[in-house]
């Protein structure tokens, strides 16, 4: 730095600092502006829906948006509150959550175990490859009727569907994770004296885990879709059941209320999973999470 530069950069620095202050200010304003706008958009949408379901177009018999087909926000809200009060939501969310969680756990455990075994044995991986590819090409929901016959209409059949869907996802990732373990890391552990079991625990499992966890969100989503669609196809309780039940009774308000509860449920679970993912993959550089 030279002598003439000492006065000049001061003003430049000042200018840039005000510019960055402005940017901060703008960002600060955005932090409020975005959620505020979001609420506004929602309010306009619901307000329009509510209003259009009440006004008639030039003497028509039905309102512009027919509440028989589309229900209306106030009725839906009332139904959700009613369900909250009488325990409908608590009971059915519990059932769906149980099904999704059990499907996720069984599917993951099976997928990891079998993925691991096949990845470690070239022979068995070659033997089973065509079978697994064939099975995987069939949409899992097609198996739903079979599971209904075997396990009945209760939670077991939904768990079976969920397990199957999650199994394939985790299986591929576990298999890939073991196969693609970093060669240098593997050899390093080998020269440090790792036995086969120690290698599996210290190197292969964590390597596979990072692959499995990267698909965690998808797997949880799959397990929930499987549970809900399973319930929708045939069941006696759960969120999918409420929706199917309302549909059968031409109860559009019930269906819409079911959808509202469902989306709130899914958003909550997704949030929990994202948090879990961040915690479990703490060792990964931020860019690759």
């Amino acid at each position: 730095m030279n002598a003439t530069g000492t006065t000049e950069p001061a003003s430049v620095a000042r200018a840039t600092s005000t510019a960055s202050e402005l940017a901060v200010l703008r960002k600060h304003r955005q932090r409020w502006l975005i959620p505020l706008t979001q609420v506004l958009v929602l309010a306009v949408f619901l307000g329009a829906w509510e209003w259009l379901s009440r006004v008639h177009f030039a003497g028509a018999a039905k309102p512009i948006v027919d509440p028989f087909l589309w229900s209306r926000p106030s009725k839906i809200a009332a139904r959700v509150i009613e369900w909250l009060a009488d325990g409908t939501i608590a009971n059915n969310v519990f059932v769906t959550l149980l099904e999704a969680a059990a499907g996720f756990v069984f599917g993951t455990v099976l997928g990891v175990l079998i993925g691991f075994v096949l990845a470690l044995s070239d022979f068995w991986s070659r033997v089973f490859n065509p079978f697994i590819t064939a099975l995987n090409s069939i949409p899992a929901l097609v198996f739903a009727p079979i599971f209904f016959v075997i396990f009945g209409l209760g939670v077991e059949s939904k768990i079976a569907i969920g397990s199957l869907v999650v199994f394939f996802l985790t299986f591929w990732n576990a298999y890939q994770g073991v196969r693609e373990v970093n060669r240098d890391v593997y050899r390093n552990a080998q020269t440090l004296g790792a036995t086969r079991g120690q290698m599996a625990w210290h190197v292969l499992l964590p390597s596979a885990l990072s692959w499995i966890l990267s698909s965690l969100r998808t797997a949880v989503g799959f397990a929930m879709v499987a549970a809900i669609v399973g319930e929708y196809l045939g069941s006696t309780s759960g969120l999918g059941y409420i929706i199917a039940q309302s549909e059968g009774a031409f109860d559009q308000t019930g269906m819409m209320a079911g959808l509202v509860v469902l989306s709130a449920f899914v958003v909550t679970v997704a949030g929990v999973v994202a948090w879990l993912e961040r915690r479990l993959l703490k060792w990964k550089p931020p860019s690759s999470i």
């Binding site: 390093n188 020269t191 790792a194 210290h202 964590p206």
Partner: protein
Amino acid sequence: MATSLQRTGDGRVRLESVGIRYDEFDAVREISFDVPAGQFVSLVGPTGCGKSSLLNLVAGLMMPTTGRVSSGGREVTTINPDSSYMFQADALLPWKSALSNVMLGPLLRGMPRKEAEASAREWLERVGLLGFEHRYTHQLSGGQKKRVAMAQALINQPPILLMDEPFSALDAQTRARMEQELLTLCKSVGATVLFVTHDLEEAIALSDRVILLTAGPSSTIKSDGLVDLPKPRNVVEARFMPGFAAIYEHLWDGLKEEVNRVYERNRHD
């Protein structure tokens, strides 16, 4: 995998008429040398001459097609419990902290966790990384990672240390410091070192002996000589010692010939 092999605790390394053959060609052939315990040997040669393969043979990661490799008087037939390996690439376990990485070796060999942890802390201190125990590898700089790798390799107090261009990715200053620390640590452990490098200056400054290999494929030993410079050395100042230039010139003449051969061959392809 029979890794229950006990250590001989002996740092001698011996290669007898060793050859490695891949499907079509010989990678190396007729390699023989004897390393007494505690000697620091650099293996130098053009790219692709099979330097790293020789380390893999001693580590037991790979078996020779012909000939015999022995460590501490015993033939190497499986992972060699007497050797530690420091790789060129980053080979730390990324899902483990610096401390867990360093204590891995002792743990795998059955040391109780508490003891292993205490020993790992001590080694992290020796490589100057106290306070970095709980960092994951992505939170460490290139030099720090190499320090962790060094502690990880040396904590097992190996009779033989194998190093495959361990410092090639570092900047010159960091590299000089690491080299100096390596010399100090190796001396305290008393390990035999086989050090692969491209860098003649590094080879001469660090080693007791430099083995130059011919260009691959089918490479073999071109020259094998002792570095007759006083010890202990300062790796930077060693370059100004009388005698350094002569050794350098001699090795460089041999290496130049081999590099030119590779160049000529590629041009005629």
